[in-house]
Amino acid sequence: MVNAILDPTGGAAGARLGVALASPRARLEGATIGLLENTKHNAALFLEELGRLLVDRYGAAGVLARTKRAFALPVPDELLEEIAGSCQAVVIGVGDCGSCSGSAVADGVAFERRGIPAAVICTDAFAVTADAMAALRGAPGYRYATTAHPVAVLTPDEVRKRAEETLPQVVEILAGGQG
């Protein structure tokens, strides 16, 4: 009798929940925008500037800024519920490290599943991780916004400029181009 070679992985990864992007996409005018920053250097300013631009240029009503303390881990349920309960769209970031890029995408998918359009910002060095995490969370091909790596070394003015350059991607993701 020949013995089979055993599989050490425990089988293929999740994808149990299926793809479910929020639909319809957000109407930015009059919307409250959640800003979920992850404590990474310059992340808060990056999101704050995006929030300001969404208010000034797209007529968003305001922002709700929150911090995810453990950048490597998924957003806690209470925080997700708080933002989802009062915001019509959310911007998440900045994914600029091995663990936080993946968890930012996981958070984006979680908000989408909760019915809230979510734009995740990752630096371009972590696209592979971001894509892998999206697939792992059952959302292969999930779109996120990228900005050049690194962000942590930028001056405040450079961060604001970078946020403005990222704005079209964020609007496209949140509103599907409808603004």
């Binding site: 013995n3 089979a4 070679i5 055993l6 599989d7 050490p8 992985t9 425990g10 990864a13 999740g14 404590t39 990474k40 250097h41 453990a70 950048f71 490597a72 881990l73 998924p74 490290c97 091995g98 663990s99 936080c100 890029s101 993946g102 968890s103 996981a106 972590f126 592979v128 991780t129 892998a132 995490m133 792992l136 969370r137």
Partner: protein, 347 residues
């Protein structure tokens, strides 16, 4: 029985093709082999021993056994693998994003107690490896579990910028017989004589070679100089342990230094002046605790900033040969749990 290398090679290649290898050949796991591993523990094969929230995966005793077998462990090593895994589960960084981190940290696994000699763990010369099956394969088993069970693959969800020498290969037996101090596991809460495993994550290791002094404080100053380098400072504070070679440890012990004395001495003396921190662009500390180039520090500010906040940030152990006065500074990623996990007895 004639051993069949052609079949063995084909099975090894099959495992490569499935993506189950860390780059070196694995032992293809069969039911009888894995059952021999499972016979070494009272725990149920289905028991969940690890859960990774980021990737939404769980590790069971059975999956750990398969990977330990593939790593080249003998079945009797399996309780040590389980204890090492449990010790890592208590490490905050390993439970956070450690396995995915750009820092690419390596587990440092330390084995104490009678299990060292019973299973043949190296505690002496060349203790950081290679050359000894228990040390090499227990450490490798952890790496295969992370890779295969959690699916954290290099270049994908594992984003080590450069990685470091020794990842998945550092497992030390403590040289208790030549240490002036109680075993690390005792300092970590276990009764004397317990076989137990401690584990922490490392950013790297750096030797301190100091063979020509009889002054214990000169040895400590030499170690403090290495620990105090600015390169490892990311946050306000850092952690650094010392794996003392027996000669340095005995010099300290004979001079009246307990382990706690050594830890306290290093906490007091490791650090940099604010001027030195400014020069390296690390004089500022943000709200998130991360250092950055503040630039407002006076370039002549000689105020000393200690960087090791507590003894738990300075794990101290003894391993290696007494053939030269060397020690190893180990750069701990995050904060050691300070807990050792007993090795389950054989049924």
């Amino acid at each position: 029985m004639t051993l069949d290398p052609d079949n063995a090679q084909a099975a090894i290649e099959y495992c490569y093709d499935q993506g189950w290898s860390d780059g070196l050949p694995v032992v293809p796991a069969s039911r009888p082999l894995v059952d021999a591993f499972l016979a070494q523990t009272r725990r149920s094969p289905k028991e969940v021993i690890g859960r990774n929230k980021q990737v939404d995966r769980e590790c069971t005793v059975e999956l750990a056994a398969i990977n330990a077998a593939m790593a080249g462990c003998r079945p009797e090593y399996f309780p040590v693998v389980l204890a090492a895994w449990e010790a890592l589960m208590r490490d905050r960084a390993a439970g956070g994003g450690g396995w995915q981190s750009t820092s690419g940290p390596a587990p440092l696994i330390v084995v104490n107690g009678p299990v060292r000699t019973r299973l043949g763990f190296n505690c002496g010369g060349g203790v950081f490896g290679p050359g000894y099956r228990p040390n090499a394969t227990v450490a490798r088993a952890i790496g295969l579990i992370v890779r295969n069970v959690y699916g954290i693959l290099p270049g994908v969800l594992e984003q080590a910028t450069q990685g470091l020498p020794g990842r998945w290969s550092i497992c030390l037996g403590e040289n208790e017989e030549e240490s002036p101090w109680p075993p690390l596991a005792v300092a970590a809460g276990q009764p004397e004589g317990t076989s137990a495993v401690s584990a922490m994550l490392l950013r790297t290791c750096e030797f301190v070679d100091n063979r020509h002094t009889q002054d214990p404080e000169q040895v400590l100053w030499d170690i403090a100089d290495t620990i105090s380098r600015t390169g490892s400072l990311i946050f306000r504070d850092t952690s650094a342990g010392v794996v003392f070679g027996p000669e340095h440890a005995q010099l300290l012990g004979k001079s009246g230094f307990s382990r706690e004395d050594v830890q306290a001495w290093l906490v007091e003396h490791c650090g940099r002046t604010r001027a030195q921190l400014r020069r390296a662009g690390k004089d500022g500390v943000g709200e998130n605790g991360v250092r950055f180039a503040d630039g407002t520090t006076d370039p002549d500010d000689e105020t000393f900033e200690p960087i090791l906040p507590s003894p738990q940030h300075v794990p101290v152990m003894v391993a290696g040969s007494r053939n030269a006065a060397m020690s190893m500074v180990v750069r701990v990623f995050g904060l050691w749990s300070g807990q050792a996990v007993p090795v389950e007895g054989v049924r």
